[in-house]
Subunit: 497 residues, 2 copies
Amino acid sequence: MSDARYDELRERLAETWDLAKLGAIAAWDQQTMMPAAGGAVRAQQLATISKVVHEQIVSEELGELLEELRPYEESLDHDSDEASLIRVTRRDRDKELRVPGELREAQARAGAEAFPVWVEARRTDDFELFRPHLERNVELRREYAACFDADEPYDALLDDFEQGMKTAEVREVFAQLRDGLVPIVAEASEQEIDDSCLRGHFPVEAQREMQKLLLSRFGFGEDTWRIDPVAHPFATSFATSDIRMTTYYPEHEMRGVFAAMHEGGHALYEHNVDPALERTPLCRGTSLALHESQSRMFENLIGRSIEWWSWAYPEMQRLFPDQFRGVELEEFHRAINKVQPSLIRIEADEATYSLHIILRFELEQELIAGTVAPADVPGVWNERMKRYLGVDVPDDAHGVLQDVHWSRGTIGYFPTYALGNVISVQIWEKVLDDVPDLMEYVARGDLTPLTDWLREKLWRHGRKFTPQETLERVVGGGLDSGPYLRYLSGKLGAPTV
Amino acid sequence: MSDARYDELRERLAETWDLAKLGAIAAWDQQTMMPAAGGAVRAQQLATISKVVHEQIVSEELGELLEELRPYEESLDHDSDEASLIRVTRRDRDKELRVPGELREAQARAGAEAFPVWVEARRTDDFELFRPHLERNVELRREYAACFDADEPYDALLDDFEQGMKTAEVREVFAQLRDGLVPIVAEASEQEIDDSCLRGHFPVEAQREMQKLLLSRFGFGEDTWRIDPVAHPFATSFATSDIRMTTYYPEHEMRGVFAAMHEGGHALYEHNVDPALERTPLCRGTSLALHESQSRMFENLIGRSIEWWSWAYPEMQRLFPDQFRGVELEEFHRAINKVQPSLIRIEADEATYSLHIILRFELEQELIAGTVAPADVPGVWNERMKRYLGVDVPDDAHGVLQDVHWSRGTIGYFPTYALGNVISVQIWEKVLDDVPDLMEYVARGDLTPLTDWLREKLWRHGRKFTPQETLERVVGGGLDSGPYLRYLSGKLGAPTV
């Protein structure tokens, strides 16, 4: 009896997930392939598929099915695919049901209206132009948070990206992180490092070849992936065997390879979910922070290590002779790890990056709590940039207006970036416990021991477990900024905290 | 009252059409971009979207809405967008309702099973391997035809591609066409024409440039289209302002430019539907034959004319100097118009092409009527190839097994190719009546007078009118093979029939 009902659930969710993936295909196409004039109709097509997927999730039939499946679920092991699918679907559905359709629409509309204003405000360095839209977005996010029974309103926003994670826990971890990072950054940024080899001329074709060469060592299955250039790189998947990475090839600097390795980390997570979870809502990474831990691991822990470049740097020298002829490996390695406080988050180095995030996380909580008014955000922003990073913000275009997120009404997303950094090293330490000679493999361009470990412990489970459950399973505990701070101190030669 | 209900219909259909287009995006991606390993899940995603679109079309709510809108429809001009949308939607829905779900599924399954067997049968030249699948597909198509009240079963199959067209009418036109073509082909193929310049080496990059150059004269709006290489070229659209052409760049022959112009003709039709019909089932070409009339017009009536090449041939010579240095325009023009009976439909020239189709059309009717058994098809095929085209079929791989259509259970589609040829010249004569100096423009690479005419008379109406209504509006009558035969006789120097 229950088994047949479970098959019904499985089939129903497979269809819903197929539809969600069709939306993902259209969204990928929009960024990578679509002629510009297709934009208006595409936006409507994407709105329609979101609506249809939402309707299927909140449908009475699905609710009844989930109710009927309670005894079956209770008869199963919590960790089984079946129990997990029922549990996660119920949680997703309950959440989807909490928010009135009018509020969802108001949020989408406000975001759509605010976005072009933000573009203009940034262009003309005019925060006041954007301010009313920020106010409106904050107000709607407060209404949204009020739909849930959360300990504090920000919990409800964070939950969209890190299911079940509490703001209080993040706050504590970030406070330690901030206090640890500030002196590391201050000291590291005093070192004189010549990174001029990273700027100059990098022909697009050579970049394309270099990125493919690096990614060819990541261990993707044959004929399962592609990579295309876009303005803002991302990774997505339409099946575990259909992975789409994106990247860029900026001609005057070398950051493209790091974008490729970053997206490669995201892509590996999606690629290695157990195929038994295909066509279900469990078939993706469990949260943004866990996802980011993987992208950061491949971008930074692998991609900025001397071992990785000991095999790859000769290829760089071959492909970009004018840039790297006469630059020793150690010199290159120091250059790609240079710490230099700067104004712009997306250009920040590994050490300063999290401070940009912590500033945003603090401000978001204050905005939602009402302790900082939108009108006061630029002042607070500039004061903290000075305090955390030691830099003077010359104008709002290079300050509070730099990121797109708030224009879309996206609040609660930023912390996941820095949580990714923190988690990446928590996991990394566990890998090294189990595979002490990992870096010897890495030095030969062999990532197999790493990817085997991650597949077994993390990737294959997809979204079966919450972020906390996942972290507990993988590292045996909760969030901890210690490993990340130790790693940076060790690498940058600052005192251990 | 009725107006609000009409708005409801419009909104409902916009969503259904959005979903259909999301399926089209995924299908395009499958052919052009998808890593091979994505195929299995993609097939399921496409099956799901077909099912959801089908369910929306046959829904009770849509049926009731259409019933309530009858008085409103009757109050409107037949040619209005509103009356057309109600009329066509009702017709589509009635048709969709006639076929039991089990039969649809059986057909899809039989096609999916037959396809790989056909691939293997063609590879090994083993018709007997494929025969049981052909039998099954024919049987299911008979069952399908029996769902409709048609004068003869083949009418129901043809109707899927040419709504409302009768087999009897096509039979009559094709009989005249066959009788006219056989002597034209026999005579034309005796001419000694050297077309060796069309074979050799055509570098891919130069082909890409040449095709873009030709298509740049077709008059597409800026940022509304793209063209990508595939194995079997096609054109599709996701909005009137998001047009996707595909092509190929075979390195050893020059056929790629004709594929590009062919798809360019299809693409212009989709691109120029009135944007008022966007996101409705009226927003596409009215039938396959009308569509093919446009692709054939741009491929052949424009693309094989001496006037067109009088501006474009110097570019060909520039891009492919080794092939065309020392080859005069007139010589090139004769080469691209050479008539040579051959075994393979998709390689056939403009004059012999329709004979390949007529043979298939006759056989399809005989299979459906049961007057030729699947087992006897190879013999009949070979006998008629000799009679119509004068060629000996060496084996079934180069005969009855050459086309994919029957393996998929697609019967009734083939005639639309030759109808396209016939209609293309019927329309062409009308254009020339109105724009007598058309070819002077064409000689300058200016297609504006032609595209203006076609947009006004044909393209903008999309699917508002049936193929017959459309033909009546555009050429003032029904199907007529006369213009096509006159055109070929005139061009190829054979006697007028």
